[in-house]
């Protein structure tokens, strides 16, 4: 596992750039752990397509598999890479320019 926030974030953004992978992640977030067959049925993607995307999602650390009851292989999404990407987005969203403009206006206001 690369312990590099840029690499983790890049993996998230690449994964989310594809509509089918986005659909799979969204469906896992919405419905919880699911089999590849569940996902294929829900999303109108072939089972092979789902399997391919799940592999890519697993490589990016965004999905993992486990065995549920009855030996069914269930996939679930992992939130940790998303949280790393979130701090990247927080850096881009930090609005110090806006805050400092408001501070400057506030200081000017006090001038008589």
């Amino acid at each position: 596992m690369p312990a590099d926030p840029e690499a983790v974030s890049a993996g998230v953004f690449v994964a989310l750039a594809d509509p089918n992978r986005r659909a799979i992640l969204t469906s896992l977030a919405e419905h919880g752990p699911s089999t590849a067959t569940d996902l294929a049925g829900r999303l109108s993607i072939t089972r092979q397509g789902v399997a391919k995307h799940l592999r890519l999602l697993a490589d990016a650390g965004l999905a993992t598999s486990g065995t549920g009851s009855g030996r069914r292989v269930l996939f679930r999404h992992r939130t940790e890479p998303i949280r790393v990407a979130q701090s990247y987005l927080a850096a881009l969203a930090a609005d110090w320019d806006g805050s400092l403009e408001r501070l400057s206006a506030f200081l000017d206001q006090g001038e008589s």
């Binding site: 590099d4 926030p5 974030s9 701090s87 990247y88 927080a90 501070l103």
Partner: protein, 145 residues
């Protein structure tokens, strides 16, 4: 481009240092430009809660770290947008220095690129091995009941 770990802004203001210090380190000051409401005590080790009406009354807690009169004010707060319970914090510092024409204010926020390895690794591994087992246990518990 790597994730920017530190964001820095420097502004030269035509105002005296005391006035800027007061705007940055009093509840009235913070309410005047930073958020729409600020509550708490501005002293090291204390918390100040700032609320923003314009952002759905969102609020963030500032854990005050440094109050060095007229020169340095610093606090830590959570990563914006991260879920409650996320342990990561960024460090925000306001540094003031006098200039011929007024005051130079430097704001630095750092810690965006931190990757809490032990947290990440442990939750990765913990989740991978743990979730199936937990659900199995829940099912067993419910069945037993």
């Amino acid at each position: 481009m790597p994730i920017p770990n530190t964001i820095t802004r420097t502004v030269d203001l035509p105002h005296p240092q005391e006035k800027i210090w007061s705007a940055v380190t009093t509840l009235d000051g913070l309410t005047g430009w930073f958020g729409s409401q600020a509550d708490g005590v501005i002293a090291p080790g204390e918390d100040v809660v700032v609320r923003w009406e314009q952002y759905d009354n969102g609020q963030r807690t500032l854990a005050i770290k440094v109050v060095d009169p007229m020169s340095v004010f610093a606090y830590c707060w959570g990563i914006s947008g991260a879920p409650a319970g996320d342990p990561r914090r960024t460090y925000v510092e306001f540094a003031l220095e006098p200039t011929a024409a007024g005051t130079r204010l430097t704001v630095t926020e750092s810690g965006f690129a931190q990757l809490p390895e032990e947290w990440l690794e442990s939750s990765y591994q913990g989740n991978v091995q743990g979730w199936g087992v937990e659900l199995e246990e829940l099912v067993a518990y419910l069945d037993a009941g």
